[in-house]
Amino acid sequence: MNPLLEARGLNLRFGAVHALEDVSLDLYPGEVVGIVGESGSGKSSLLKVLAGMQPADAGSVAYTDAQGTAHDVLRISDAARRRLMRSEWGFVHQNARDALRMNVSAGGNVGERLMAAGSRHFGKIREEAAHWLTRVEIDTARMDDLPRTFSGGMQQRLQIARTLVTRPRLVFMDEPTGGLDVSVQAKLLDLIRSLVADLGLAVLLVTHDIAAARLLSHRIVVMRHGRIVEEGLTDRVLDDPQHPYTQLLVSSVLAA
């Protein structure tokens, strides 16, 4: 099987700071890879570079689409990148307010990607939006309400519905559970896990929450100072950490 996303030798500097140093990563179809590390370790920068939202100083990112065509993500045209973003990819932000249109109804938020992709049938758009709201456990009676009347957890679920409505193959998630209270986090993780399994999504999950990473990811990549210090299967990395930093990271998790 060929990787869906293939990153080689990524380098990125912000002045004197090395945000990424010689980072290479493969992501296979249907695979969930967790990227963990402390704040400033370069995990969000990595996600942005992989999604083509941030140019890298050196390296390459190759994405193979559903038709088997390879795209050079770092050198792709704006139009082609938008097309990928619209049809093949999804991006879930930490703060739902960054992604949602707060003055557009929940149904409109979910329908936007469908309309951007060319759907022009009001009834079908609504039907699809209702279906996705149900899947993320939002009452369809709230469909025509504005997201600002939603709780934080609902907003995050709405963002996920909005992202998944076009059935992307690859979803980038940047701290999807950040800023939510613990019980809501647990529910959301549960939801993401079942959706990912049902849809066979490939996910790149950036998080500093080791528990979330353990629950969702098949593989884990540990980053520090812009470098990948350790990677492997989730259980192996978390139960038998080799690198001193990983050991510190794992031991710092509070047991409930």
């Binding site: 249109r101 936007e112 309309m115 022009r120 025509d144």
Partner: protein, 286 residues
Amino acid sequence: MNAPLNPVAEHLAGYNFAYLDEATKRMIRRALLKAVAIPGHQVPFGAREMPLPYGWGTGGIQVTAAVLGPRDVLKVIDQGADDTTNAVSIRRFFGRVAGVRTTDRTREATIIQTRHRIPETALREGQVLVYQVPMPEPLFKLEPRVSETTRLHALGDYGLMQVKLYEDIVQHGEVATAYNHPVMVNGRYLMSPSPIPSFDNPKMHMNPALQLFGAGREKRIYAVPPYTEVRSLDFEDHPFRPIRAPHACELCGSTESYLDEVITDDQGGRIFVCSDTDYCAERRGE
């Protein structure tokens, strides 16, 4: 058009023909040529200060000045009427500074400057319709960044506008834009038709006349060449529907024309009359 430097008609001494200097007119004509070549695309131009306030038609006046020749016959309408302050002032302005013949008759005019209407009488080849445009950017209420709207136009990414129509149907049960309903021009560019009633939108489609749009404050020009496809945005199951008051004109009895509601007294009396005064007068045989 093709104005000679010494026009045949008399005009106010001390002013160049049609007020603007020749270099400015050339600059505007260049923008117009580009606009005609790329239907629906907004072309920036160096709008000048005009002797009337922004919002009164400075963009339209500059476009008219740039295309006006001494043999042209000019008609100016404001909301369909030839006799409102705005229309009268602009007509008199060009009468003075260009010495051109002016008219109320749509049929006789070669150039028609308009604010917020398209005449009821069908336009023909060779006529030029100049629109006064307050806000040329159809996406401005949805996306405040000009850099981003430019990018959306470049990529033909108009899902956002469709979301707005979706929200209208959700909230009002139908598309609620009675005027300034966005159109796709030539299957490529999303365009603001200027605040004409949606009733007039279908008239833009495959119109034999040249349609020019000038926005003075926003410094943009765009155009729809003759016989160009202009489609109003809609949904397959909520097709675009032009809105017209369900009455006949009180004066001429027309059931086809776009109507204005006019209050006649303090007791709530009201009548509906044609907004296009020339059309109405012609039907009454005046």
